[in-house]
């Protein structure tokens, strides 16, 4: 075997060997002094390197790549500022459990701790926002550490893993042996659920009258969407998801309730408020989902399936906790549930489903058309034009919520958003990552005029690599979500949320070598979208939308989710 040959390799060459063995064909990065040796070695491999314009963009791009492709994203940056610039991206990937390996250069080992040029303790800085991290101290341990890093990033509850590699270790030589399978005695994720617990779930499903499934990012990450759909249809249980779970269940299915939470649909929040059984799968009961926890699903027995034990009973008490992989657990449940035993399901669920459809009819998601462009209309038109087939990334704020509400996802991996951290500037680099991962798909970044400016420099990356991503800016010249809170809860005192001096995004797009388009009236929306989507270039579409449109429904922070402000 070639793998067992004792070849003498440099640290940089070992890194390339491990990347190849992990099936890494693309990395996102930015060179610098501490990683020159790696970059030099990179030229002698087939690995594709995407040069971003800011290291934060590298992590978000690797994150978007990971989500769109369903595999681990990799980024490479230099020491010091290169490393610190990745922190926001790492924190975002951590909150959303996205498998990303971050390789940071470090000053040579003999200088560590000396406040050397471009030295920073990135392992110390990122300790609370990585799944795990490493400082490589010797070239001998490099291969093993890298293998572990990839294993940790993708296994169990996935997450970002950072490996800090001093410059001298990249140059040092050592006989290379490909490490064996990683086996960590202190890390054994539980994939297979406890059968007794599952049996309890089967009984509860048989007994309940008004069940709801609440699915989250865990279903997407475990690739359990088909199993989820099967369970819901088999037991006729309506489904809502968290923001991270959008796409885990087809939005075109009649059992679909829409998203739950602060900006969830009326029927989703009301159903959870009234249900007698809540099957929570791959969720962590974020405060934006639960509102006031004491009033969350007050009448329900709650079942919670998650691979991470810390997610269970963290904020919500549950009747049946199950630690296990979501897909495997759902697969078992589907096998265990006998539809005949559920007996006359259509009849049994009729009352409950009727009640839900009354909620749906009484307060559907809606907006008033006017002679000013409504942001919801832009998303709605985009959805119709793309037939729901696009990969959507978002920035954070109103644009994100409107995208979640008005673009309907039938498949996982098509809605890519910074859910937990809520990180502005995520959408554009994430779209770059997604487009690199899926060159044949349409990738659209739904942005606001505020957040697009947080990583606008990545326009250059998109153009350099001829990535035909489409950027839809809902331009209201406000930091809209904060403005909305100020309107509703702070007496309309719009303290520093008005962004009147944004650049001309059309000319800015042109300056970057992209196509820039603008719509100022509702009748321009469709033509601009049509023209933009038809182009094979990077396109910025600037929609001048109603400045003070707000996202509804809305649950004020800390209120029960059934107490919603409707339009």
């Amino acid at each position: 075997m070639e793998n067992n040959e004792n070849r003498i390799l440099t640290g940089a060459q070992i890194l390339m060997e491990i990347l190849k063995s992990e099936g890494v064909d693309t990395i996102f990065g930015y060179p610098g002094g501490a990683v020159i040796d790696i970059y030099d070695e990179l030229t002698r491999t087939d690995i594709r390197h995407i040069l971003v314009r800011h290291e934060q963009g590298a992590v978000h791009a690797a994150d978007g790549y990971a989500r769109a492709k369903g595999k681990t994203g990799v980024c490479l940056v230099t020491s010091g500022p290169g490393a610190t610039n990745t922190v926001t991206g790492i924190a975002s990937a951590f909150m959303d459990s996205i498998p990303v390996v971050i390789l940071t250069g470090q000053v040579p080992t003999h200088l560590i701790g000396n406040d050397a040029f471009q030295e920073v303790d990135i392992v110390g800085i990122t300790r609370p926002c990585t799944k795990h991290n490493y400082l490589v101290k010797t070239v001998e341990e490099l291969a093993g550490v890298l293998k572990e890093a990839f294993y940790l990033a993708r296994s169990g509850r996935p997450g970002p893993v950072l490996v800090d590699i001093p410059k001298d270790i990249m140059k040092a030589k050592v006989p290379f042996i490909m490490p064996k399978e990683v086996d960590l005695k202190s890390y054994k994720p539980t994939y297979i659920p406890n059968q007794k617990q599952l049996q309890k779930i089967v009984s509860l499903i048989a007994e309940c009258e008004n069940p709801v499934i609440f699915a989250g990012g865990g279903v997407v990450l475990s690739k359990g969407s088909n199993e989820l759909t099967e369970l819901a249809r088999k037991a006729m249980i309506p489904v809502t998801t968290s923001l991270m779970g959008l796409g885990a269940f087809p939005a075109s299915d009649p059992l679909w309730l829409g998203m739950i939470g602060m900006h969830g649909t009326y029927q989703a929040n009301m159903s959870v408020g009234a249900c007698d059984l809540l099957l929570a799968i791959g969720v962590r009961f974020d405060d934006r989902v639960t509102g006031k926890t004491a009033s969350f699903a007050p009448n329900a027995k709650i079942i919670h399936i998650d691979i991470d034990p810390t997610s269970i009973r963290k904020t919500i008490s549950v009747s049946v906790p199950v630690v296990g992989d979501c897909r495997i657990s759902l697969e078992h449940l589907n096998r265990m549930i006998d539809q005949n035993e559920l007996g006359g399901l259509c009849q049994r669920r009729e009352k409950w489903l009727n009640r839900i459809s009354e909620w749906k009819i009484s307060n559907p998601l809606s907006f008033q058309q006017s002679d000013i462009i409504k942001p919801q209309y832009v998303i709605d038109s985009l959805f119709k034009l793309t037939k729901g087939q696009a990969i959507i990334t978002t920035e954070v704020g109103q644009n994100q919520m409107w995208a979640a509400q008005y673009y309907h996802f039938d498949r996982p991996g098509h809605f890519i958003t910074s859910g937990g951290l809520g990180c502005m500037g995520f959408g554009l680099p994430a779209a770059i990552g997604a487009q690199v991962a899926c060159p044949d798909k349409l990738v659209v970044d739904i942005a606001g005029d505020g957040s697009i400016q947080m990583n606008i420099q990545e326009m250059a990356t998109a153009v350099q690599y001829s990535l035909p991503i489409k950027i839809v800016i809902l331009n209201n010249r406000y930091l809209g979500m904060v403005r909305q809170w100020q309107e509703l809860f702070y007496g309309k005192r719009y303290s520093f949320t008005s962004m009147e001096h944004a650049p001309d995004f059309v000319r800015l797009a042109e300056a970057y070598g992209a196509l820039g388009l603008r719509a100022t009236k509702p009748e321009n929306v469709m033509p601009v979208l049509e023209r933009g989507l038809a182009s094979d270039k990077t396109v910025v579409m600037d929609f001048m939308v109603d400045r003070e449109e707000s996202v509804y429904p809305m649950v004020p922070a800390g209120a029960p989710i059934t107490e919603m402000l409707l339009v």
Partner: protein, 159 residues
């Protein structure tokens, strides 16, 4: 919910940064540390950390789960009940002027402590025992003037 005292003992990889991960978890998630004790075990690759914390039952469940989630934590147990032994050591620098010295010696004797340093006006006393015993001797010596006090925090093992 009522907070109770818990003693956690864990085996961890003896590597740089591991203690920081454990302690960072407590500070980052708002858990308390009453005392902390770390040292190598018989296996030089493994250290034992003993932490005394105050938490409600629900918080305690989170603390245990979060600690178990750390990659470098190999084994974790909460120490309580008759099967456990818990000890702490204190070094007490107490003022010992003429007329008080024999009383101090008597107290030290009762607590099976040792005088490990003697000066013209002070003793340094070494005493080990469970928390109650250590507090008892400290309370007895307090009126005489304790100038300095160093406690190790609890270490614990199962029988």
């Amino acid at each position: 919910m009522a907070e109770e005292k818990h003693v956690l003992t864990m085996l961890v990889d003896n590597k740089p940064g591991v203690l920081s991960r454990v302690v960072g978890l407590f500070s980052g998630r708002g858990f308390n540390i009453d005392s902390l004790c770390v040292a190598e075990t018989i296996d030089p690759h493994i250290s034992r950390i003993t932490i005394v914390t105050r938490a409600s039952a629900l918080e305690m469940e989170q603390i245990e789960k979060q600690l178990n989630k750390l990659i470098n934590v190999i084994k974790l147990r909460t120490v309580s009940g008759p099967k456990s032994v818990q000890r702490e050591m204190a070094l007490i620098y107490v003022m010992a002027k003429n007329g008080q010295r024999s009383e101090i010696l008597r107290i030290v004797d009762i607590f099976r402590g040792k005088i490990i340093d003697v000066g013209n006006e002070h003793f340094i006393i070494e005493v080990t025992g469970n928390e109650e015993k250590i507090s008892a001797i400290i309370n007895l010596l307090k009126p005489l003037g304790i100038k300095k006090l160093a406690k190790t925090g609890i270490v614990a093992l199962f029988r």
